[in-house]
Symmetry: none
Subunit: 226 residues, 4 copies
DNA sequence: CATGAATGAGCGTTCATTCAT
DNA sequence: AATGAATGAACGCTCATTCAT
């Protein structure tokens, strides 16, 4: 049951794959401000540097894979909810968002970096493949939204998801510039930058969704509109 | 009028300051995918490498200064409109946004990078100072918004600006990851990533503002909701 | 006739041996500028990487073996001619040289590399063994030369072969540095480096042999001395 | 007079240039079988690694420059002799060859490597420039030879130099494979490979020159012809 | 015999920053 | 003030070889 010395079976390989992602994740959590070196990742995973390259074509693709694992977690949950029987309202979506994107400390810092990677270090082929998989998820989730929010015209679900994600990410960057670095957070921030990312995001998403679907969540934390 | 060999007067110094920003801007326009090296900036400005450090404490702060110059352009225009006599509606704000942020090819790529810098390479002190100046602008503009859009409660103007900026930036990154690289753009993108940044942004901002102020612009390009 | 899955018989082993040399040869022909990696050789031969090491102690020794196969082809032909009945003159030797060393696209690039290997990566034992086999061939061929060119004193045949080979190889390197890279060849070479290897070699060998045996070939292409 | 901390004057720069070549030379002498790393060269020169790149665009070009310095030494001496008043015969040329190429322990091992570099790691532009300078020297020396050896037709001097160099280099490689590595030399070499490079080269060059100019040196050591 | 997963040493190059001149 | 020579840390990736299966 333990990990063999050599991953011969496909499952063992998958296990190694995940182990490397786990290692990168731990390092990223430990010091979120820097990208770990390949040597560190290998070390943390208890493998040799060269072994990393048996599982990922480059450091960047490893990071992309880690991001995709995070994203997949969110979408799996979202689609499960949308495909399920229960009632779905904005508050439910918001809760999912918090659970999978806002609270896990890794999701957003990594997501922010991934955009940089995509346009630079990831070969076009991989980038396209990644996007195709993302597009599938987006379309399924978008269609699900349209089923639950009947005011959404066909295609608007996907667009709403895109805009929401942009808001989540953009706002995190503005907050992150504030909140990420403890040293900075310690000093007195100007009032305009004193906002809790979680709360502010709820307000923003609520406003966006209200503008699109005409419905408002009674968000856990009051946002723009109390 | 020509640049003096030695900047002794305060104005000369300011001139050099701007000349360096101009040089960095030209380089960034010339190849937007990469951050120019200090040597290149100095060269482009006709100065020696060391001289750059007489005017900026680090390369990052130079970039931040360039970004702030861009931002200032937008805010000056925005505040001028808000403080002016004419009628201000959402369409007007959108137009300004396009003019100062979307169309200038430098604004958004630089803005996206600046967040990365803030949490890493900029000393807390400079970051705070930058934010204080930003906060001033945001507050003035936020207050102006509240005067023109009477449904906005006190403080909501500033929040709306923040959310809008998050949307602008986040969406650009999502589009940029798609559109920036010509090689990638050439190949068939999945439908979910085929969207024009300009149009999509209008839709998103319209939705957001509609959700907050209850008003819709007859945007130049129709967005999510016509 | 097909290659067995496991080489149990000695002949099967020899077959694998040759198959690996063939694979290396094909790769070297395909891209002569680079030494193929073990993985590529194994792949090209349809075997696993580790299997290569069942047949050759190292990559370098594989290359040496390939070179020796080439060399053997030349010597077999040369000795056949020298041991045969027909008249042998310098022109005949030159023709053989062209046929086995100059025209095959692999011989000289590989030969040039082998010297590098010998002084570095080949263990002394293997190097000695290789040389012993070479010495045998050289002595037989040298003796043959002495029978046909009666002005050659005992031992001079071998020396003449050695000098000829040095000339062939040295000149190829000088030409190769010029001719090998198409990009370089395209640009205007200085006149001193504009020479056709084949013709120039004939001139040089003719001069050398004339100096030693006092006879000149009516070479296919005129050399230094027509 | 001592080397300043910083090479500001052009002469100081040239001094640094030479110092780096000297350092590389010392390292190459110390262990001729391996190419020194840039770090080692810098260290040996008492400079930082990065400083090397202020003086040479790449490690390969540094090695090429070192080789050219060696070559230039030979040509300077050769041309001086040819342009001088004294009588010039083959023996004189041979003596020069020994003095500048055979005896200095660095010349030939480096020369052998340079051919490899030229076709791989040196950018075409640099390679061409190097060859142009070489061509100049060759032409001057070739013309000088034609003045002294009246049986040489125009152009044959240069060709003879080329063939001689090929012989020198090719023979060294054959011998070097033998002689370079002490471990190998220790064991009993087959007779065919037991030859002293210096003597054998004299024999070969004598034969070549005899074949071309019809004259023989009474070489210090008898070669092919006793 | 055959496989192919794992290893890990090895290195050139960039470039922001400093500081002697 | 201005210069530009000097610094040196930082790091991804390849690939020959080994050895568990």
């Amino acid at each position: 049951m333990a990990i063999r010395q050599r991953a011969i079976q496909a499952e063992d390989k998958e296990e190694r794959h995940q182990a490397l992602l786990d290692a990168a994740e731990r390092l990223l959590l430990r010091s979120p401000e820097r990208v770990p070196s390949v040597a560190e990742v290998a070390d943390e995973a208890g493998l040799a540097k060269g072994t990393v390259y048996l599982y990922f074509p480059s450091k960047e693709e490893l990071l992309l894979a880690l991001h995709e694992r995070n994203v997949q977690g969110f979408f799996r949950a979202l689609i499960a909810v949308l495909d399920g029987q229960g009632r779905v309202d904005v508050a439910r979506i918001l809760a999912l968002t918090h659970e999978h994107m806002v609270e896990p400390p890794l999701f957003l810092p990594l997501a922010a970096r991934v955009f940089g990677l995509m346009s630079q270090s990831i070969p076009a082929e991989s980038a396209i493949a990644f996007k195709r998989r993302m597009a599938d998820r987006l379309e399924r989730a978008g269609a699900g939204l349209e089923r639950h929010f009947r005011t959404l015209a066909p295609g608007e679900g996907l667009v709403l998801l895109r805009h929401s994600y942009a808001l989540i990410l953009g706002l995190w960057q503005m907050a992150g510039a504030t909140g990420a670095c403890p040293a900075v957070a310690a000093v007195d921030q100007p009032a305009a930058f004193q906002f809790s990312y979680g709360n502010d995001l709820d307000g923003a998403l609520n406003a966006l969704w209200r503008g699109v679907v005409g419905e408002t969540a009674s968000a856990p934390a009051a946002g723009t509109r109390p």
